[in-house]
């Protein structure tokens, strides 16, 4: 009882503590999101700060107009997401395991692999334009351009996700491995039956974060290809940007596309959270 009373007594001060962050999040995230939804229902003129109400016309234009590139850009974005998720998982987890095993220079490797994550994507994109040209002009062909920008995205993201995996790996008690070895398990069996199940939460977190980040891919397409060649790297975020800031009076349409992207992303993440629901492993 006394504990409950204490909790109640502390509540106002607790709200005070979170108030600054709460206000910032409300203003810069939720209020902005609400505004963008409002804008998406209008033929919005950003210069005048008002527009004509058009209902769902902007959404209908994006999904149903024959010349709309929304579906094409969504397809490209989804393909990019698949490549990014596979690429990041297949590079950052092995890197984390290698790093963990290295007897010497673990800190050095961690730093080296992490460096791309703190390098601005614009710089990375400019450097990779030249690297990819040396590798047979991957950016020049519609069949390979999206793969090329995905490689760049994976290269940048791997180091950061490697650190997350490294943290996850260090949480796995050594006892499990020792026990498995006593039972005669080989390295592959250890990986499948101990590492992967116990890394489940980290895996889900990394996958969700990579999916969210990859759905918002923009910089590579903007800097490296401008959506080309032949619209093969046209992604949703780039379409949103162009319509919002480069074409006159298309802010409402751009906002509608952004919300459609949000809807797709939301569905993806919900499915994933259901399938890989977080739970404790080997506890019982």
């Amino acid at each position: 009882m006394a504990t409950r009373a204490g909790r109640h007594r502390n509540q106002p001060i607790a709200y005070l503590y979170i108030a600054p962050a709460f206000v910032i999040v409300m203003v810069f995230s939720f209020v902005s999101m609400g505004l963008s939804f409002y804008v998406s229902l209008h033929d919005w003129d950003p210069l005048r700060g008002r527009g004509e109400y058009v209902g769902l016309a902007n959404y209908a234009r994006a999904v149903a107009e024959p010349s709309s590139v929304f579906w094409l850009s969504l397809r490209n974005t989804t393909t990019y997401v698949v490549m990014a998720v596979i690429g990041v998982l297949c590079t950052s987890l092995p890197l984390a395991m290698l790093c963990r095993r290295s007897r010497y220079g673990q800190a050095l490797f961690r730093t080296l692999y992490f460096l791309p994550s703190i390098t601005p994507m614009v710089v990375i994109a400019l450097v990779w334009i030249w690297l990819l040209q040396q590798w047979g002009g991957l950016l020049d062909r519609p069949e390979t351009a999206l793969l090329a920008i995905a490689i760049v995205g994976v290269w940048q993201a791997s180091g950061y996700n490697m650190l997350l995996f490294l943290a996850g790996l260090s949480d796995i008690p050594q006892d499990f491995y020792d026990a498995a070895r006593v039972d005669g398990a080989n390295r592959l069996q250890e990986f499948w039956h101990i590492t992967i199940p116990l890394l489940r939460n980290t895996l889900v977190f990394v996958t969700v974060m990579v999916i969210i980040g990859a759905f918002q891919v923009f910089t590579q397409a903007y800097i490296m290809t401008r959506g080309g060649p032949e619209r093969s790297t046209e992604v949703v975020a780039f379409q949103v940007f162009k319509n919002a800031f480069s074409y006159a009076g298309q802010m409402g349409y751009a906002s509608a596309m952004a919300w459609l992207l949000f809807a797709v992303l939301f569905v993806f993440i919900m499915i994933q959270m259901r399938v890989f629901r977080s739970r404790r492993i080997y506890d019982e």
Binding site: P46, L47, D140, G228, P229, K242, S246, A248
Partner: protein
């Protein structure tokens, strides 16, 4: 020392602050905010130009403090919209033809008819006609021409000189001798002649007839002409199309006009230069034609009349190049290109209209234009500049300038309506056609012919124009504006 401190942004600000703080108190100073994508930090020449503009203007208007703000070209639209919304717009700014009409339609620019009417030196007859096209909508004038530019062919005269069969392209001096520093305006008679010259200037591989000779790195040794395929939209196409009687859009920006047999003939001409005559370096995204020209690998490229000064700077003084307009195609007569004039405008939120207009009067008048010529080697939209001794001296010193006035004069107006949206529609189509012509030729391409591709491009552009037209009508109604558009 003071000069050095004046050039850098932060120290420049500090110096200005020190001067203001130590100056005796005087009457209220008017702050004139000027936006430009040119900047004092671009080069030393620009630094001197801006410093001189500022010091002359402030000396004549002691109550005015000119504050330049450099705004990147790519962000201009967004920044201006934000500044106007935030009630903090520039008073006066340089405006590209790409945005000018759109800004005016949205009520971001002040109409200038009343101011021009009282200013003899900025009347229409003071300017080259090609410079006036983009400064108005119907009878509403919203800009004063500031610079004049046109697309042109940029030739490597050193390469032309090495082939005696091509010496006919050079001017002759008063003594009748060939002047290898100056190319004739009409050096190329027509497309067929251009094709022959481009072939003559291309070094072909003796081991693989018809293929350009490549070095160890796979780069061409010497190509006659370069076409950019990636990300260029209608850029490499329209100047050539104009020489074949094609226009991109109507004046009001309501209809695409390039869905014609003459336009298809033009695109086919460019395709043939690349795929049949093999006079071009391979299409590669990171290799821009202009850079290849600069490296001495390409004899001729499509560039702009502004290119010369940058070329001289980048090559540390090399001036073995010349500029011409584009030769006539089979469907038209006369030399052509695309011309545009960026302009000085006054924002609708300007608080010091009289001072802003004084600034424009100075900048776009003869004095300001000669200053641009002196400091930036920039030609002018003004007629009187070309009659001045300063221009004669500039041409004497830099012979490549010789054809610039004529090139700008013969140009058709550059397409300007919703340019980014339009380019985004035509770019993938042009890219596809240029990159995949062999597939199209054998009937396996996405388009049956070049004409089909242009038809689709025009359809898409018309959709952009329709959407934009709807917006413009709404803006006009909101602003209570009635614009009578001139006929084409």
């Amino acid at each position: 020392m003071v000069d050095l401190l004046e050039r850098a942004g932060p120290t420049r600000g500090v110096l200005a602050w020190v001067r203001r703080s130590t100056a005796p108190p005087g009457p209220r100073r008017i702050q004139l905010r000027v936006w430009d994508w040119w900047s004092p930090s671009t080069t030393e020449d620009y630094a001197r130009y801006f410093a001189e503009i500022e010091s002359i203007f402030e000396a004549r208007h002691p109550d005015v403090d000119v504050v330049f703000q450099a705004v990147p070209f790519g962000n201009y639209e967004q920044k201006l919209a934000t500044a106007l919304l935030g009630d903090n717009p520039p008073d006066v700014f340089q405006c590209s033809v790409y945005w000018a009409e759109g800004f005016y339609n949205r009520g971001m620019l002040r109409q200038l008819n009343d101011l021009i009417a009282t200013t003899p030196e900025l009347q229409d007859d003071q300017f080259v006609p090609a410079a006036l096209h983009h400064t108005r909508r119907g009878t509403h004038v919203f800009g004063v021409p500031h610079i004049l530019d046109g697309s042109c062919l940029l030739w490597n005269l050193d390469m032309l000189r090495t082939d005696p069969n091509l010496h006919g392209v050079f001017e002759r001096g008063p003594d009748g001798a060939l002047d290898f520093r100056r190319i004739r305006f009409d050096a190329v008679r027509d497309w067929a002649h251009f094709r022959r010259i481009a072939k003559q200037l291309t070094k072909y591989d003796p081991a693989a007839p018809g293929q350009p000779l490549l070095d160890d790195r796979g780069d061409v040794v010497q190509a006659g002409y370069a076409v950019n395929a990636y990300g260029m939209g209608a850029g490499p196409f329209m100047p050539w199309a104009s020489t074949n009687g094609v226009r991109f859009q109507d004046r009001a920006g309501t209809k695409a006009l390039f869905d014609t047999p003459a336009a298809a003939q033009t695109l086919q001409f460019l395709i043939d230069l690349y795929w049949k005559d093999r006079v071009c370096p391979p299409f590669r995204r990171e290799l821009v034609a202009y850079d290849q020209f600069q490296e001495g690998r390409v004899a001729c490229v499509l560039a702009g009349t502004w290119s010369g000064k940058y070329l001289v700077r980048n090559t540390q003084g090399w001036m073995g190049f010349g500029l011409t307009a584009l030769p006539p195609g089979p469907n038209a007569t006369g030399y052509k290109t695309m011309t545009w004039a960026n302009m000085m405008v006054i924002s609708s939120g300007c608080r010091e209209v009289e001072t802003a207009w004084e600034f424009i009067r100075f900048l776009c008048g003869l004095e300001g234009s000669l200053l641009k010529l002196k400091r930036l080697e920039q030609n002018s939209p003004r007629r009187d500049v070309y009659r001045s001794e300063a221009w004669d001296a500039a041409v004497k010193e830099r012979p490549y300038l010789q054809n610039v006035p004529r090139i700008c004069t013969v140009g058709d107006p550059l397409q300007h309506t919703q340019i980014q949206a339009v380019e985004d529609e035509v770019e993938p189509i042009f890219e596809y056609v240029l990159l995949n012509w062999p597939e199209i030729e054998v009937g396996r391409g996405r388009f049956g012919s070049v004409a089909d591709a242009l038809h689709l491009a025009a359809e898409r552009v018309n959709e952009v124009y329709d959407r934009y037209g709807h917006l413009v009508r709404r803006w006009d109604a909101q602003l209570g504006r009635r614009v009578v558009q001139e006929e084409d």
